[in-house]
Symmetry: C2
Subunit: 386 residues, 2 copies
């Protein structure tokens, strides 16, 4: 297998893009990534695009062909990959495999979702397609309700409190305020979260990531060619994916995502690193409890200590393990198919020391964790600056 | 890159499965493929599943996680791939890359669609998501109408007749009648087609592939390991994909699919073969005109001669190039995401000499061509018996 590097990265601002359609968003992010790589389109051999629910959100499937056309990249192959909210991370993984295998040299990877054209209840229903439609959503569960069950159990088993969860949102908003691409660039307090409306007890509005439009893109190349394109290639030193039961009631645990644990372990093995070697991480905080569980499941903190660690500021910029410097899904926004690729973009910027007001000092190794649905899919990448 | 072989293949009967859901179909095909490979599930390292429109058809996305769960394969990674009606072929291609790269050894590839639970108009609308939703379908075009435009132009430019198109349907029904997995196992005549209802002039009901439920699966392994599992591995000696403009009005030609031409040429180059070396082919005959165009675009017949060749029986079982021995999309049925994988299953059966009443004599090299939408994606595989 060949070693793989990211040679270009770019994204649209995340937010409510009333004036831009699905196609416009992909093209903007794609052109930014390709320009950043300093290449022209005719150097590109293949592409992968992550999007979760374009069929239901905008009536359009066949996204690979659509993007090849609108990016002016025909006749190169572009393939859509879907794994709910992990669609972007899975697209990155397919791109990694295409380059690692030697089948393609220069591969563009994108993630996109256009979510704000429909009403919030319709979008909630569509997002429900990430869970077990027949055994969870059809019977009335919503995604916040599913994560609320995990939160309740985490509180019972480990003494995690609502304030600890709120501290995750506060920290991610503080980071997002330093990111000009973030949907929410305003700081909030623990009180803001605690006083916000309940969505599914104990989760409140400010514990939940928002509905967002946006796209992100990266360009991959074999590491041995990467220096001919950029002075600062970022190597992908690990790429791992795992699955778990789709419905919560079939899981071994309500307080861990086994898919994250398995993918994390595989990724650390592949990179020959331990959690202590990671300088910063982009984590899938679709709900605040998800970030707490993930930093435990990945081995950054002992089981049950994710809440206290968050409240004590151990995951904030400047502390030992800055988590979600982009603002995370919570403040940067969560256009579901785009999120996994945006995580890679943030890791690239951090490792190239281009993260402006939110730069992690001495950032050398970064990790991203992207989750599909309530945890039936997880994908973990580890990146190294060069 | 490692060489890749198919070590197991299986499929559900194609048809209207009122008594089986999406999950049941995948599990049935998956178990058949895995049993055929003579392995247990714990040998499998990863999976890919092609499905076009599960979100709109059954309200379920996140198909990779769902399948891992229902196949009892967690925590291995399973990834959904979508490229409209080429979803199955693209899933096979991802599986090929995963094994070729050395990232995984044993990979299961599936394709599935559950289409008959909704009314025909709703399904037609959903299938429209394979074309350009904003510039074609929204403005009133349907898929038969798009292919009818191609047919009209082909008739004008090359003198192709309605009888020539009808002869494709007659031949594919004749083949389907010998396939116990086919949706339609009854022979028809040219008159049956000519007298059937017009759908979009000049295409009649019997020029169109049906709405179908079904699933198919194959198991892949590195060629060097394949003989430890089966006496008759089938090597995938070429795997190529290409794209074109998604809307018909942006294409260079109405009578060729450029994506098929490009993917075909790449595949022949990769296999170091020419069209003359192919013993039989599974072709994407979503409409009869599509088969005529494809056998020209792949170089089996000169441009404009696909119609006469079909009428003269040159693509029938027993003739020089048997096309669609399975019955094709027309008679075997077209559960869109499953079709590309079913083509591979038929090629495996032919190359293992297990195609019962429809066996191609001396079958040594087979080809499959799978198309997304009206041609924005095409994927071509070439298989070799061992």
């Amino acid at each position: 297998m060949r070693r793989v590097a990211i040679i270009g990265a770019g994204m649209t601002p995340f937010g409510e893009h009333w004036e831009q359609g699905f196609r416009d968003l992909v093209v903007e992010a794609g052109i930014k990534a390709i320009s950043d790589a300093g290449i022209s389109g005719d150097r590109i051999d293949a592409g992968f695009i992550g999007t979760m629910a374009s069929g239901r959100l905008i009536g359009q499937e066949h996204i690979g062909g659509l993007i090849a056309d609108y990016m002016g990249l025909t006749p190169i192959p572009i393939t859509r990959v879907e794994g709910a909210c992990a669609s972007g991370g899975l697209a990155l993984r397919q791109g990694f495999m295409a380059v690692a295998s030697g089948l393609h040299d220069i591969v563009v990877v994108g993630g996109v979702e256009k979510m704000t054209d429909l009403g919030v209840n319709t979008v909630s229903d569509i997002l429900g397609g990430a869970g077990d439609q027949e055994w969870e959503l059809f019977l009335g569960a919503t995604f916040p309700a599913i994560y609320a069950l995990m939160a309740k159990r985490h509180m019972l088993d480990y003494g995690t409190t609502e304030e600890m969860m709120a501290s995750v949102a506060v920290k991610n908003h503080r980071h997002g305020a330093k990111n000009k691409y973030a949907q929410f660039q305003s700081e909030i307090t623990i009180e803001t979260v605690m006083k916000s409306k309940k969505v599914a007890d104990p989760l409140k509005v400010f514990d939940c990531s928002p509905i967002t439009d946006g796209a992100a893109g990266v360009v991959l190349a074999p590491l041995e060619l990467a220096h001919s394109f950029t002075k600062k290639p970022v190597e992908i030193i690990a790429c791992a994916q795992a699955s778990d039961a789709i419905a919560l009631h079939s899981r071994e645990s309500l307080t861990s995502l086994k898919a994250t644990q398995v993918a994390g372990k595989k990724a650390f093995d592949m990179a020959k690193l331990t959690p202590k070697d990671i300088d910063f991480a982009e984590i899938h905080d679709c709900f605040t409890i998800a970030e707490i569980m993930a930093i435990e499941d990945l081995g950054f903190f002992p089981k049950g200590m994710g809440g206290p660690a968050s409240l004590e500021g151990k995951t904030a910029l400047g502390a030992e393990l800055p988590v979600n410097t982009s603002g995370g899904l919570k403040a940067c926004g969560h256009p579901v198919g785009a999120t996994g690729v945006k995580q890679a973009v943030e890791c690239v910027w951090q490792l190239r020391k281009e993260a402006e007001g939110r730069q992690v000092k001495d950032a050398h190794i970064g990790l991203s964790q992207n989750v599909g649905g309530s945890g039936a899919t997880a994908v973990v990448h580890i990146y190294k600056g060069t």
